[in-house]
Symmetry: C2
C-alpha cells in the first residue's frame, strides 16, 4: 500500500487527514447537463446505459475529463439492485416498478442476489474506469435500505412516501424483514464494488428526510448500521448521505461512517455542532445556485468553505444532484471557485 | 376585554401562559378526509368554495362539530391574494397561474389590493363563523411572501422551486420589489381578517425548506418581518410556520412571532434548543402517522408531548396538512390522545 501522503486528495480528506485544498466532486456529475452525456444517452435507454460497461465507464470519465474533479462516482442507479432482487424495473423517465411490496409473501419472494452474477456489469464498468483513469479515485454507491424500501412499497417515486411509512407503521415486523434483506443485498453489492476497484463508497438515503427523527432511527439508520458494519473490513472511506435527516446528525456521526453528506438546508457550522466534529462533512451548495450568476456561485462557495472551517474535514459537493438544466460553464465556475478558494491558508 | 383566565385555552397557550392542557388544531382540518367536506365541495369548484362565505364557514365549522378542536382556521387558500393582485388562478386540482412573473414589468403590473374590496368574501366567512361559534377561537392566515413569490415565478407548484430561486439570484432587486409588494398585500389581508374577527393569525411559508438558511434569511424571513411588524398593533398571537427552515429557528424565535410551527423532521426538544425557549412551539406529528394504527398514533403523541415539555408552551398540531386519505376515526384517535395525554400533570 502506498504511503498516506501519496494517496489522492479526496481519499485523504475522507480519512480526516489535513489536506492542502478542499476536494470536490458533484452528485450526478455524469448527467444530462453535459452534452457529451446526452450524446451517449441517445444511443440506448437509461437502464441500457447502466448495463453497458463501456458506455457507463465513458459517462463516468466525461466530467473528470472536462473538469478534472477530485473523485469520480461510477455511473449506475440506486434501483439496479432492486431489479436484481426480482422486481421488474422501467424508467419513463421516472422509475416504475412492476410490482409493489405490501405483504410478507411479497418480501419472501425477493431474492438476495449475488452481486457479481446479477450486476456484473457494474463491476465491469468499475474495472474499465480504473484502468482508464487510475489516478482519479472512484466512488461506488448504493441506495440505503429505507430509500429502496420506499420505492418497493410505493412502486416508484412519491411526493410524501406516505404509503411506505404506513407500511412501516402497520407491519413493523415485515418492514424490518424487508429492511434486513435490503441491508444484506446492499452490503454485498458495495463490497463487490470495492473488490472491483472502488476506493470509497457512498450510501444514498435520499428519502430519509420524509421521516421524523424517531422513525429515521428505527427504519433508516438501524438497517444502515448493518451495512457500515459489513463494509468496515474493506477499509475504504464510507460516506452516508441521509438527505434531510439533520436531526439525526448526532447519531449518524457515531454510526461508523467516515463522511456525512449534508444537504443545503443545514449550514455546515450547524452540522459541525450536531456531529461534534467526529466526522468529515460533505456538501452543501444548493444545486439551484448553479442556475444563477457566477458571482453568486462564488459568494456561496466562500460562505460554505467558511462554515466548514475548523472541523474534522470537508469534501465540497452540492447538497443534492446537479440539475439537468445547469449550464456546463456554471459547473466550471463552481470547480474553479472551490479549487481557488478552497486552498488551505495555514499549512497543513 | 375579558380577563386572561377566561380566554380560550388555545389563545392562552399561544401567549405562553401556563395552561391546564395542551390545545390542538390540525392544519387542513377542514378538508377532503371528511365526508361532510366532500359533500359541500361537490356543489362547487375549489375557488367557488373559497368565495362562497356560507360554504366556507360551513366547512370551517365541520371539524369543530365533529372533534371539538381547540381552534378553527378559516377556510380559504393562500393563493386567494395572488388572484386579488391580478393573476388569473385555477385549480386542476393543483394551482395553475395564468401568467408567470419574470421581469420588473411583470412585478409592476401586480396590484396591491384592498383586501376588503377584493377579498370581502373571506371577511364575510369569518363573520359567519364567529357568530355561529363564538366560543371557538378562529385563526386567520396567509401565505408568506417567499412562498407566494415561488408560485408567481413558477406559475404553479414545483418539485424544486429552482426557477423561483434562479429568479432571486439573477434579479435580486426585482425579487426584493416583488417581496415588498407581497408583504404589503399580506399584511393588509391579515389585518382585515383580524378586524373581521380572527383572534390569531398564521403565516404559512410552505416552501421555506427549499432555501438554504442564508437564502431563507434574505428572501424568506426579511419580508416576513415586515408583516409581523405591521400586525403587532393588532395584539393577536402571530404563528409563523416556515416549513423545513429548522436552521433559521434561532432567528425566527427573535422575529416577533409568538408561536413557531415546526415540521416533524425537527423534534420539539431540538427546536426548543434552537429557539432558546423564547417562543411557543406548534407541531409536529408526521401526517402519515394518521394513516397507521391507533396504537402508534398514541405512542407518537406521547413522544411529542414529552419532547415539548418544559418549554415556553406547546400547541399540538401535525407537521403539515392532514392527508386526504386519512380515516376520520384516526383523526378522532389523535384528538382523544392529545386531550387525554396532554393534561398538565403539575398544576399550572
Amino acid at each position: 500500500m502506498a504511503a498516506a501522503a501519496e494517496e489522492p486528495l479526496f481519499l485523504r480528506a475522507c480519512r480526516g487527514e489535513p489536506v492542502e485544498r478542499t476536494p470536490l466532486w458533484v452528485m450526478r456529475q455524469a448527467g444530462r447537463y453535459l452534452p457529451e452525456y446526452r450524446e451517449v444517452r441517445e444511443k440506448t435507454t437509461f437502464l441500457g446505459l447502466c448495463k453497458t460497461p463501456e458506455l457507463a465507464a465513458e459517462v463516468t470519465f466525461q466530467p473528470i475529463r472536462r473538469y478534472n474533479l477530485d473523485a469520480a462516482i461510477i455511473f449506475s442507479d440506486i434501483l439496479v439492485p432492486v431489479e436484481a432482487m426480482g422486481v421488474q424495473l422501467d424508467f419513463n423517465p421516472a422509475p416504475v416498478l412492476a410490482t409493489k411490496v405490501r405483504t410478507e409473501a411479497d418480501v419472501d419472494r425477493l431474492i438476495v442476489p449475488d452481486p457479481v452474477k446479477s450486476m456484473g456489469y457494474v463491476m465491469e464498468s468499475i474495472r474499465i474506469f480504473r484502468s482508464g483513469m487510475p489516478k482519479t479515485p472512484l466512488i461506488g454507491f448504493a441506495g440505503a435500505p429505507f430509500t429502496l424500501m420506499a420505492y418497493l412499497v410505493e412502486g416508484g417515486g412519491s411526493k410524501s412516501y406516505s404509503q411506505a411509512k404506513q407500511f412501516c407503521y402497520e407491519h413493523p415486523k415485515v418492514a424490518r424483514k424487508l429492511l434486513e434483506k435490503l441491508s444484506e443485498t446492499i452490503s454485498a453489492h458495495l463490497i463487490a464494488q470495492v473488490e472491483a476497484g472502488c476506493q470509497a463508497v457512498q450510501i444514498f438515503d435520499s428519502w430519509a428526510g420524509h421521516l421524523s427523527k424517531d422513525d429515521y432511527l428505527t427504519f433508516g439508520l438501524t438497517p444502515t448500521l448493518r451495512i457500515i458494519e459489513a463494509l468496515k473490513k474493506k477499509n475504504v472511506p464510507i460516506i452516508v448521505f441521509a438527505k434531510g435527516a439533520h436531526a439525526a446528525l448526532p447519531e449518524l456521526s457515531q454510526s461508523g461512517a467516515d463522511v456525512l453528506g449534508v444537504d443545503w438546508t443545514t449550514p455546515l457550522d450547524l452540522a459541525r455542532q450536531l456531529t461534534g466534529d467526529r466526522v468529515v462533512l460533505q456538501g452543501n451548495l444548493d444545486p439551484s445556485v448553479l442556475l444563477g450568476p457566477i458571482e453568486n456561485i462564488q459568494t456561496q462557495v466562500q460562505r460554505i468553505l467558511n462554515e466548514a472551517q475548523g472541523g474534522k474535514g470537508h469534501v465540497f459537493n452540492l447538497g443534492h444532484g446537479i440539475l439537468p438544466e445547469t449550464k456546463p460553464e456554471h459547473m466550471g465556475a463552481l470547480v474553479e471557485a472551490v479549487k481557488r478558494l478552497g486552498v488551505r491558508r495555514v499549512p497543513a
